[in-house]
C-alpha cells in the first residue's frame, strides 16, 4: 500500500489536527463518561426488572410450597380446609389464584444497552387460569414522570448525543479550510476535493465512531453478566454495526452540507436544523399522522365490552352449566374434591369463565390487531427518520424492542391457555389434586426469538441507514466533481 497516496496523507493529517487541538482526547473523555453513566443506568434498570421477576418467582414458590404443605397435612388428616377457596386439593382456586405463575422473559446478555419498550411492558406476566384480560395487560408500577423523561441509557447516548458530537466536529469540513485560508493552497495541489472530503470524514469516523463503539462495547461488557457468551458477542456485533451505520449517515449528511459551499456558521445552522428535523419534527409528525390514519385501539371502550361479555356469560350461567352436565353427565372421579353447594358454585363459575373468555379473547385479539395496524404503518414511516430506526434497532438488539416483547407475549398467552385448560378441566371433573400433581403443573419455557429474525430485522434497519448515507455520499461527490465546485467553495456568494 502506498503510504503517500493523497487519501492516506490527508487522513493522517486530519488525525493529527484532531489530536493537536485536543479534540480526540475531549471526545474520548465525553464518550467514555457518557457511556459509562449510561451503562450504569441501563444495568440498574435491567437489574431492577430481574429482581422483580425474582420477587414474583419467590412469591409464587412460597404460595405453592405453603399449599403443598397444607395438602400433605390434609392427606395426613391433620388439616381441614375452612373453605373451598383455601382447599389445597381444589384445582379451581389453585389454578386461579394460589399457584398463578409468573411467565418471565429472561434478560439478554446485552439488556443494559437499551430500556426500549421494557418500561411499558413488564418482564413477566402473572399467568392464571382466569380470563386472559386479567393477566395479559399487566403493567409495572413506575413514576410516570420517569417514563415520560426517558432513561439516560446507552441508546440515548448513541441516538441523540452521538450525532451531535459528529456535527460539532464536521459542520465545517470544507468551509473551515476556506476560512483558515488553506483551501486555496490545497487546491493548487494535485488532490481532488472528493479525496480531501473522504479523508476528513474517515478521520472523524475513526475518532468518534471508533471511540463510541470501543467505549460503548467496553462499558456494556463490564456490566454484562456474561460478556463472553455467543449471545453477547452476536448482539454487541450488531450493536457496533448499527452505531457505525448511523454515524456514517450523519457524517454523510455533514459532508453533503459542506460540499454545498457556504459559511461554516450556515453549515452549523443547517445541520442543527436537520438534527431537529430528524430527531423531533419527523417522529412527532409521523406519530400524529399514524394516529389520525389508523387510531390506536380504545381501551376505555374495551373495558365496557369485556364487562358486557362477562355480564352476558353470567346471565347464561345456568344454561351453560346445564349444557355442560348434559354433555358430560355426572362424572364421578375417584377422588372428588367438592360437594353440594360448593361444587355447583365452582362449576357455574368455570362455565361462565370459559364462556366469557372466548369473547374476551376475541375482543383482545381485535384490540391487538388494531394496535398492530398502526405499528406496521409506523414501521414504514420510521424509515423517514434515522434516529427512530436506530432507536428501534438498538432496542431490538438489546432484547427490549417491540418484536421480542411481542414474541414473549404470544408465548405467554399460549401458555396461559394451556394453564387454564390444565386446571379448569380437572376442576370441572371435580378431581382432587394430589401432591404428585403439584410437581406436574405446566411450566413456562420461553423460546428465544430466532437469531435469524433478529438479524433480519437489524439488516433491514442497517440498510435503511446505509442507503441514505450512500446516496448522500454520492450527492456530495457529484457536487464536488462539478466544474463550478472550486469556485463555489472558495468564494462565498454575498448574501
Amino acid at each position: 500500500m502506498n503510504l503517500n497516496a493523497p487519501f492516506l496523507v490527508c487522513l493522517g493529517h486530519e488525525l493529527r489536527l484532531l489530536r493537536i487541538e485536543s479534540l480526540s482526547a475531549l471526545i474520548g473523555f465525553v464518550l467514555a463518561a457518557a457511556f459509562a453513566y449510561a451503562a450504569w443506568n441501563g444495568t440498574g434498570w435491567a437489574q431492577r426488572q430481574q429482581e422483580a421477576v425474582a420477587t414474583a418467582q419467590t412469591a409464587h414458590e412460597t404460595r405453592v410450597h405453603d399449599k403443598l404443605a397444607q395438602l400433605n397435612a390434609m392427606e395426613a388428616g391433620t388439616y381441614h380446609p375452612p373453605s373451598a377457596f383455601l382447599n389445597p386439593a381444589n384445582p379451581l382456586w389453585i389454578g386461579l389464584r394460589h399457584a398463578s405463575t409468573p411467565a418471565a422473559l429472561p434478560a439478554t446478555a446485552l439488556q443494559a444497552a437499551a430500556v426500549g419498550q421494557s418500561d411499558l411492558f413488564p418482564p413477566y406476566l402473572n399467568v392464571s387460569a382466569d380470563t386472559r384480560d386479567t393477566w395479559s395487560l399487566q403493567e409495572d408500577v413506575e413514576n410516570p414522570t420517569n417514563l415520560l423523561a426517558g432513561a439516560f441509557d446507552p441508546t440515548f447516548v448513541a441516538v441523540v448525543l452521538l450525532p451531535l458530537i459528529l456535527i460539532a466536529l464536521s459542520y465545517d469540513l470544507l468551509p473551515s479550510e476556506r476560512e483558515r485560508g488553506t483551501l486555496a493552497l490545497l487546491l493548487t495541489q494535485p488532490v481532488s476535493l472528493t479525496t480531501l472530503l473522504a479523508a476528513k470524514v474517515t478521520a472523524r469516523a475513526v475518532v468518534v465512531l471508533g471511540g463510541a463503539s470501543l467505549f460503548g462495547a467496553l462499558s456494556l461488557a463490564l456490566v454484562s453478566s456474561n460478556p463472553l457468551s455467543t449471545d453477547f458477542l452476536l448482539r454487541i456485533g450488531l450493536w457496533t454495526a448499527l452505531v457505525w451505520a448511523y454515524g456514517l449517515f450523519w457524517l454523510a449528511l455533514c459532508a453533503t452540507v459542506s460540499s454545498r459551499g457556504g459559511s461554516s456558521a450556515a453549515g452549523a445552522l443547517t445541520l442543527c436544523g436537520l438534527w431537529l428535523l430528524f430527531q423531533l419534527i419527523i417522529p412527532t409528525l409521523a406519530s400524529s399522522l399514524a394516529q389520525a390514519a389508523l387510531p390506536a385501539p380504545s381501551r376505555s371502550a374495551m373495558v365496557s365490552e369485556i364487562r358486557a361479555a362477562q355480564d352476558q356469560a353470567r346471565q347464561r350461567g345456568d344454561a351453560s352449566l346445564a349444557r355442560y352436565l348434559r354433555e358430560h353427565g355426572e362424572e364421578r372421579p375417584d377422588t372428588p374434591v367438592l360437594h353440594g353447594h360448593d361444587l355447583d358454585d365452582a362449576r357455574r363459575r368455570i362455565v361462565i369463565l370459559l364462556d366469557s373468555n372466548t369473547e374476551v379473547e376475541r375482543i383482545l385479539d381485535e384490540q391487538e390487531r388494531r394496535r398492530q395496524a398502526q405499528l406496521s404503518l409506523i414501521s414504514w414511516l420510521r424509515f423517514l427518520s434515522p434516529p427512530v430506526l436506530m432507536h428501534d434497532g438498538l432496542s431490538e438488539v438489546a432484547g427490549t424492542g417491540e418484536i421480542r416483547l411481542r414474541h414473549f407475549h404470544a408465548q405467554a398467552e399460549h401458555f396461559g391457555a394451556r394453564w387454564r385448560e390444565h386446571f379448569l378441566t380437572r376442576a370441572l371433573r371435580n378431581e382432587a389434586l394430589s401432591s404428585a400433581d403439584y410437581a406436574r403443573f405446566p411450566a413456562f419455557d420461553y423460546q428465544e426469538l430466532p437469531t435469524t429474525r433478529l438479524i433480519g430485522e437489524i439488516t433491514l434497519i442497517l440498510s435503511g441507514l446505509i442507503m441514505p448515507a450512500a446516496l448522500l455520499g454520492l450527492l456530495a461527490r457529484r457536487r464536488l466533481k462539478k466544474p463550478v465546485a472550486h469556485e463555489q467553495l472558495l468564494f462565498v456568494p454575498h448574501t
Binding site: N2, L3, N4, A5, P6, V9, C10, H13, R16, L17, I20, E21, R180, G181, T182, A184, L185, L186, L187, T188, Q189, P190, V191, S192, P483, V484, H486, E487, L490, F491
Partner: protein
Amino acid sequence: MLEARSLTKLYGTHKALDHLELIVKEGEVFCLLGANGAGKTTTINLFLDFIQPSSGQAMVGGKNAREPESKHLLAYIPETVMLYSSLTGIENLNYFSRLAIGREHRKEDLSSLLIRAGLPAEAATKPVSSYSKGMRQKVGIAIAMAKGARALLLDEPTSGLDPQAANEFATLMEAQRALGAAVLMTTHDLFLAKQVGTRVGIMRQGRLLSCFATAGVDHVELERMYLNTIGGGMKP
C-alpha cells in the same frame, strides 16, 4: 509554460477579464500591473482553476488548467500564505509537499528547503501561529520549491512586506527564474516589477492594454507608461 487564449471571465454581465491573450515562457517573470479591479487576480485564479472561464482557455504546460494534471506544474503564493496554525512550519511543508509529489522528503531536506527559502532555522519547529506574514510567505515559497513547480503564480506577493523582506523575495524569484521556472506575478509595486520582471503587462478593465520587456526601460519611464495606460479611460 503559461498561456491564456482569448481568456474571458464574466460576472453576470460584468467583464472581469476580456479576451486576454498572454504567454509566459520558461525562465521568464511576467508582472501584471493594473488598478484595483483590473482583473489581475481573476487571471491568476483562472490559471489555478479556482474559477471557470466564461470562454477561452488557460493553458499550463500545454495542458488546459481545467485538467487536474496541470496541478503538478503549478505553485501558488498569495498575498498572505495561510497555513495550519497549530502545526509547525516543517509539518506544514511536509503535508503539502507529500500531497504535491506523492512521496515524503527527508526531514533534513525539508529544513534545508526552509532555510533556502529564508526562514530562520529555529522558527521551523515552532507553530505557524507565531509566524509573521513574511515567515509564512517563506513557507509558501518552500512549498513551491519542494514541489519543483515549473510555473509560479504570485498574487501581490510583496504587499505588506518590509523593504528588506521584499528584497529577499526578489532574489528568491530571480533564482527560481534562473532555474527555468515561468513566473506570473501581480503587483502594484513598479520598482519590484522593474527589478524582477523580464516583461510587464498593464491591465485595465479586464483587458491587457500594453505588454513590453523591462530591459531598456527605466522606472520613471515605466511609471509614466503605467499612468498613461491606467488613466487612458478617463480621457475622452
